[in-house]
Amino acid sequence: MHERHDLDLVAAFARGTLEDPTPARELIESCPDCAEYYEDNLLILEAVRNDLTPRLTDLERRRLRQSIWTEIDGSQTGPAAERVTWRSGAWWYRMAGAVAVLAAVVAVGGVLLGGRGGDMALESTTAELPRSEEETAIAAATTAAADEFTPMAADGGASATTAAAADDTEQAGAPEEATTDRALRAFSAPDLPEVVAEFLDRVTGGEVGIERPFACEAEVDTEQLLAAEAAEMDGDRVWFFAFGNQEEPSVQVLRSEDCSVVYPNG
């Protein structure tokens, strides 16, 4: 293929992404190698279109989540100093074990009460239990992590049992649950980057809206505002803001008290 030819142009033409396709069309008509590359691209695009995207089966998904949970949980309680080190820096690792214990207690309770199937809602199960201050903080701070890393049983039956416990908890008239606890996610300053990452993840997934009223409104570009969420960092109220487009938002975290920028400058 002739090196002076713009192969990117040819590839873009094949994908139909050019605003003005005339130069690409002329290039393809005048250059056999380019025409061949164009055909190559069409062939690949057709193959991609016809190809089924690989997906996890339900069983694989359950096992995967369970194994990740087990690894995280096992490493946390295990004697290996190395593992204690890597997880000791992350807030949800420190809290995950406690959440798992709470979930297990509720699951056993559900079995004893005779439950039925349904989706597991860890927030609901934890809401049913009497809480110490620490447990309350754990539940609030790990809502997202627990949602992602719900310990799943290796077989569907056990999962259903656990889920039944959650259902029963709700039917038993569990109090307000997540809505009151969610409001303030508590974390410490060293964990800010990962909390920001998690916030970004939820924003791009369209899971976070704008909590109103939010602090520091004068400091915030409300036209570009995508999401606003309160949290608590080392006991201080902070606000997470996401701006721009949902695919690639930017994040700013402001301290509520004086509107100072905690992230990205913090």
Binding site: L7, A90, L200
Partner: protein, 158 residues
Amino acid sequence: MRRHEDRVFAVCLRIMRNRESALDAVQETFLTVFRKADQFRGDSQFSTWLYRVAVNTCYDLLRRMKRRPADPLPEGYEPPDRRVDAALSSVELRPGLTTALASLSEEFRTTLVLADVEGLPIGEVAEILQVAQGTVKSRLHRARKELARILGNREAWG
């Protein structure tokens, strides 16, 4: 994790070419992400970082597998279909995308999977693979030629 696990799995499966190995890679990827969450600075998209971890994890696993040729094959291991070569001589039998991708080198396969299958822009692929954009373009062009040759069951051009 729920949001990303299928896409990470798809990428890993296409790089690893084996379901069990891909599942191992996905598990290791998410564990790494949780272990190293504090290293994510938010200056790139989270998904870009996640893909980078996934690709590096796959490469690591492939290297480990190569270093241990005497190890028993994982359960469910599907060896590359040797009939692919024979199929190339027949216009009637064209391999599917997965089989054709499996015939590419790791570098080409990964680049092509990220750019053409996952549809990521060149800049993001470069960031994931931690190479220059020119390198990505070069790999991509050569990978496309090679893949098209396999898919189209044509002779390679000079």
